[in-house]
Amino acid sequence: MIKTDTLIIGAGPVGLFCIHQLGIIGLKCEVVDNLDKIGGQCIELYPDKPIYDIPAVPECTGEELTNNLIEQIKAFKTNFHLNERVEEIKKVEKKWIIKTNKGTEFEASSIIIAAGVGSFEPRKFPTKEIEKYEGKQILYSIRDKKVFKDKAITIFGGGDSALDWAIELSNTSKVILVHRRDEFRGMQASIDKVNQLKEEGKIKVYTKYQLDSVKGSDKIENINIKHDDKTIKEIKTDYVLGFFGLIMKLGPIAEWGLNLDKKTIPVNTESFETNKEGIFAIGDICSYPGKLKLILSGFHEGALAARGCFKYAKPDEKYRFEFTTSSKTVKDRLGVKE
């Protein structure tokens, strides 16, 4: 059990700046994020897109913003629990006990939800009958490529993940690559390699096809793919891999007894606390009259939520407002040498 003052859910820009705000008032925190890297939507959706409305930063990309925020919180040596999703929270006396899908447990006096539109999850096939095969023969990520040795694998998708795995697995497996249109959107070198392997007969490529149906009982026996012109092709396959990118899902947050308005959590604008004592929500996931879904608004929300967490972490102390320019205590926390 990891004990901390505040658990932050979400390592996007708003969660990152909140670490700073907790840090300068002397609170410790741990961060959980379902992505495999820090930065949230800024890194996953638009690392290269310039942002023009960060105060005092005329232009920066999602990746630059993330890197700068990481630099700004370096002194706090925060632990990030990546690739983990918070599943359960429960109040025991005055503390929250938090459990992730990997079994990590935290005890914290407060929780700050900075989860954007929810956690990023792989997009799935729309086909109805696939559910019972998911996680077995239908996969959206690869943990152990050895299971595919000498098997027939059908890969769906047109981006780098689909292309890279098609190339990699073609060494040891019989690979068919299926994509909904003629163009692939991956790196040119990967596209060229796939075309070369296709020429050499090492990969079969079917474009303008999508998954139509899956046949089998306990195990998949074959699948049907359907061309744009409606013709159907039957493929015998052992595994089906889908690489359609990620989608954001609210997930378990919806089960915690928080008030929800569509996919957002209503908060008060004094401390950004939710209807549950000690649970705060900031950034895109919170809602209140006048809410703007801007990173800059999230920074403000995080600053106030951090102060809101203070009374839960240190009930016997009085919070004292201090400036980073003048407070020796704050500068020490930031590791500033004078």
Binding site: Q41, L45, Y46, K49, V117, R123, K124, P126, G157, G158, G159, H179, R180, R181, E183, R185, Q210, D228, F244, G245, I247, M248, K249, K293
Partner: protein, 106 residues
């Protein structure tokens, strides 16, 4: 103001006046049309505002920009007449446009 008709997967349909210059996505979100999530807020980064454009209208639309087709690869059940509604800007030429929303966005 141009009128846009949104047909839900259930068959429910609503016709709404959407001001010129707004996107078909914004028209939906501002009027609480179900079935269009628009998680990324119009940044062409998420494919959750995916719609099917009525066949008659599909060819009359301004062409897709670079990147839209790439995002559509990730949409739920993309078809030939798929578009991202955040990329369709409402104008007088689109008065009467009919779009259908998919059974879900992901």
């Amino acid at each position: 103001m141009p009128k846009i008709t949104y047909i839900e997967n259930s068959g429910n349909s609503q016709t709404i006046e959407v001001a010129n210059g707004l996107t078909v996505m914004e028209g939906a979100v501002q009027n609480d049309i179900p079935g269009i999530d628009a998680d990324c807020g119009g940044g062409m980064a998420c494919a959750t505002c995916h719609v099917y454009v009525n066949e008659e209208w599909f060819d009359k639309m301004p062409k897709k920009e670079d990147g839209e087709e790439d995002m559509l690869d990730m949409a739920f059940e993309p078809k030939k007449n798929s578009r991202l509604s955040c990329q369709i800007i409402v104008s007088d030429e689109l008065d009467g446009l009919i779009v259908s929303t998919p059974s879900k966005q992901g």
